[in-house]
Symmetry: C2
Subunit: 395 residues, 2 copies
C-alpha cells in the first residue's frame, strides 16, 4: 500500500479502534488514591515526608543508581546537575539539536550557552562519530580544558538525551567525552525503564536526570529526579534543591544560594504508586509497538522506529519515520491523523531554530534536519495495546 | 511575673495543654481527599487541569487581584515577578534584611544583587522612613533610573515582605518607591488573608506573590502564585512559568526561555480544598493570638506581636518579642520551650549575614539587628486555639 494518510489511519484504527485517542495519557490503576489519602492523613504533604524518601529509594532500586534526589520537574533536575558538574556562566554545553526545549533552557539557567550537535539516524540521539569530528575540527584542549576555538568559551559538559525513550549510543558519547575531559549529564527525562545492555539509562553519566511530568511513562503531576553514583554529588544535589540550609534544630543559616526544587511529599505519594505499575506500563508499550509494527508493515514509505540493537526501549512515544522522499507528506498525514481523532505530533522544531537559541554555536545538522521533517509521534499511552484483547491473547 | 522560661512555658501550657506541639502544621479537615481523588480520576494531574484554573480563580476572588498565576512555589513566583518588572543582570533589588532566604535567592536567580533595608519595629517589615533616608543618602536619579552612587548599579525594584503575616507599611513603601521610579513586588508569601484596610496584601505592588508551602496558612504541598492587576504582565507570567510555547495544535515553537514553574493540577486540587477552609483558619489563628496575649499578659519583658493598626493580620506565625534588655534570655527560652515540647524558633539570621549575601549593599540595620535577637515564634497551627473548648465557648 502507498503512503496515503488514509492507509495510515486504517492501520492505526486496526490497533486502536475508533478515536479520539490521546497522544499520551497517564494511567492510574493502582494505589494512587490510597497513597494520596495516606499522605494527607500524615499531614506531611510538603518538602519532607516518607513518600519522598520511599520514592527515591524505589527509583534507586529500579535504576540501579546509588543515589536519587527527587525534584519538582526534569528541567530543575537538569539545572542542578549542570551546576554540579561545574557549568559556569559563559561556558558552552553540548546538547542535541533534536530535543525538547528544556534541555537547552537548563543550560541557560546556568548562564551558559547551548552548543548543538547532530543526531544519529538509528537512535535519534547524539551521533558520537559526528561529535568527534566536530570537536576535532572546532575545539582545542588548553590546560585540560576543552575550548571552542571560534568563541573562545570553555565547553563544560555534554548532555546526551534518550529520545522518545530510545537509548542513544551512550558508550560512544562517553568515549568521545572522555577524550575531551567532558563530564556527561544524561537527559533520561523520557527513558525511565530503558536499558543499554542491562544498565539503566541515566546511570552512565556522572549525573543523569528523569522526568515525571504528566506526559511521561509514570507521573507525579510534576516531578523529576537526579541520579548519581557519587555520594558527594548526591549530598550537594540535595542541598541545592532545598534552600541550602545548614542542619540545626532551629537556627536559619543558609550557606549558599539554594533553588527550592524539592519534590513535595504529595507528588511523591502519586509517584510511589506509579512506580509499582511501571513494569506493566513498559510491557504494555512494548506490546503496542509490536502491534503498530505489524499494522504498518504493509505501508510503503513509512516505518515505526525500533529500539536500537543492544538496548531495551520503554517505547515512551511511538515514532513513525517517513522515508526521505516522502517528507512532503508529513503535514497532510498529521492533519488527517488528528482530524480522525488519532492525536499525533511532529518532532520538536530543532532547538537552534528557536528564537532564544538562534546564533548559538552548532555543528552541521544534516541528520537532525532530515529527522525533524520525517518524524510523526502517534498515540502511545500505556493500556492502548489492550484493545481487542480477545485477538491478542489468541496469538 | 518575671521573664523566666518556666513562666513562659506555663503560659503556653495554659493555652496549648501538654506538648509536644509543632510550630506549624497543616490542617486537612475538608474536601482535600475528595478533590485529590477527583483529580486522579480526571487523569489531569499535571500542568493543565480544572483545579489549577479553579485555584487561580478562587485566589483572584479571595485576594481581589485581577489575575493569578499558580506556580510550583513562592520562590519561583518571586523569580518570575522580578523578571517581569525588568530586573536585569547586574541590577540591585531592595529587600528587607529580616526575611526568609528565598526573598534574596530570587534576586540572585535574576543575576542581580540584593540590597538590604532596615525594619520598622511595629511591623517588622521595611521601614519607609529609613528607606527614604538611605536612598536620599546613597542613590541618585540618572535619566529616570535610580542608581546606587557607591556601586554604580541600577536599583531596579523593591520587595517589601509581610513578616509572619503582619502587613508592613505598604503605603509608605509605595510612596518612597514612587519617588525613585521603583516598581514594587510584594512578597506576601506569609500573608495570605492579611489585609491593609480592606485590601489584600500582595495586591498593592505591580506584582505580588504568595506561598503555599507546607508550613503556610494553606498548603498545596509545594506551591506559589503571582498576583497582578495588569493583564499583560499576567499573560507574560503564564508564558514564562510554562515552557514559553507559542500556541499551536502540534508544533513546538518556544519564543523565549521559559522556566517550567507551573503548579501541577494535583497540587491545585489540594489547594482548592484548603482555600475553602481559609477563613476558618484565619479566625482560629486570630483567636489563638487572643489566648496567647491573655496568657502572656502577666509576664514582664516579653509581649506577643499584634497586627499593625489599620490592618488585619492572618497571624500566620505567632511572634513573641523580648524587651531589648532581655535579649540575652532568648537562647535559654528557646531551649526550654523546645525541651518542653513547644516547638519554637528564632527569627531568620539577617540575610546580609549569610555567606551568599555577605558583601551585598546594605543600609544600616539597627532595628533589624535588634529584632533578630528578640523574636521567638511559638506554636501557631490553625486549630490550636480550640484546645479547652469548653472554657472558650463559656467566655
Amino acid at each position: 500500500m502507498n503512503t496515503r494518510p488514509e492507509n495510515i489511519v486504517a492501520a492505526l484504527s486496526s490497533v486502536l479502534g475508533e478515536g479520539p485517542v490521546a497522544l499520551h495519557e497517564p494511567r492510574f490503576d493502582g494505589n494512587e488514591k490510597r497513597y494520596l489519602s495516606n499522605c494527607v492523613d500524615s499531614t506531611f504533604v510538603s518538602s519532607v515526608g516518607a513518600y519522598v524518601d520511599r520514592f527515591e529509594t524505589d527509583l534507586a532500586r529500579f535504576t540501579g543508581a546509588k543515589h536519587v534526589v527527587a525534584t519538582v520537574n526534569g528541567t530543575s533536575a537538569l539545572h542542578i546537575a549542570l551546576l554540579l558538574v561545574g557549568v559556569q556562566p559563559g561556558d558552552e554545553v553540548l546538547v542535541p539539536a533534536l530535543s525538547f526545549v528544556a534541555t537547552a533552557n537548563a543550560v541557560r539557567y546556568c548562564n551558559a550557552t547551548p552548543h548543538f550537535l547532530d543526531s544519529e539516524k538509528s537512535t535519534l540521539g547524539i551521533d558520537p562519530a559526528a561529535m568527534a569530528t566536530w570537536l576535532a575540527e572546532t575545539c582545542t584542549m588548553d590546560s585540560g580544558k576543552c575550548v571552542n576555538r571560534t568563541t573562545g568559551n570553555r565547553i563544560a559538559a555534554v548532555v546526551p538525551m534518550h529520545t522518545f525513550g530510545h537509548p542513544c549510543d551512550i558508550a560512544g558519547v562517553l568515549a568521545v567525552a572522555a577524550d575531551y575531559g567532558l563530564p556527561v549529564v544524561e537527559d533520561a527525562a523520557e527513558s525511565l525503564g530503558s536499558l543499554v545492555g542491562s544498565q539503566h539509562t541515566g546511570t552512565f553519566g556522572l549525573l543523569g536526570i528523569l522526568s515525571f511530568n504528566g506526559n511521561k511513562i509514570v507521573t507525579t503531576g510534576g516531578g523529576g529526579a537526579i541520579l548519581t553514583n557519587d555520594s558527594d554529588l548526591a549530598r550537594r544535589a540535595k542541598h541545592l534543591t532545598t534552600t541550602a540550609k545548614v542542619p540545626h534544630g532551629w537556627e536559619y543559616v543558609h550557606d549558599e544560594v539554594g533553588y527550592n526544587y524539592r519534590m513535595p511529599n504529595i507528588n511523591a505519594a502519586l509517584g510511589c504508586a506509579q512506580l509499582e505499575e511501571l513494569e506493566s506500563f513498559i510491557a504494555s508499550k512494548r506490546h503496542l509497538y509490536q502491534k503498530y509494527r505489524e499494522a504498518l508493515s504493509q505501508i510503503d514509505g513509512i516505518r515505526i522506529l525500533s529500539e536500537p540493537s543492544g538496548t531495551r526501549s520503554n517505547y515512551w512515544l511511538q515514532t513513525l519515520l517517513l522515508d526521505a522522499d516522502k517528507t512532503d507528506l508529513r503535514a497532510e498525514i498529521l492533519e488527517v491523523l488528528n482530524n480522525n481523532g488519532f492525536m499525533s505530533r511532529p518532532a520538536w522544531n530543532l532547538l537552534p531554530s528557536l528564537k532564544p537559541f538562534q546564533g548559538c554555536p552548532s555543528a552541521p545538522l544534516p541528520v537532525a534536519k532530515s529527522l525533524e521533517r520525517r518524524i510523526i509521534n502517534i498515540p502511545s499511552s500505556s493500556g492502548l495495546s489492550e484493545f481487542k484483547s480477545s485477538d491478542d491473547y489468541a496469538q
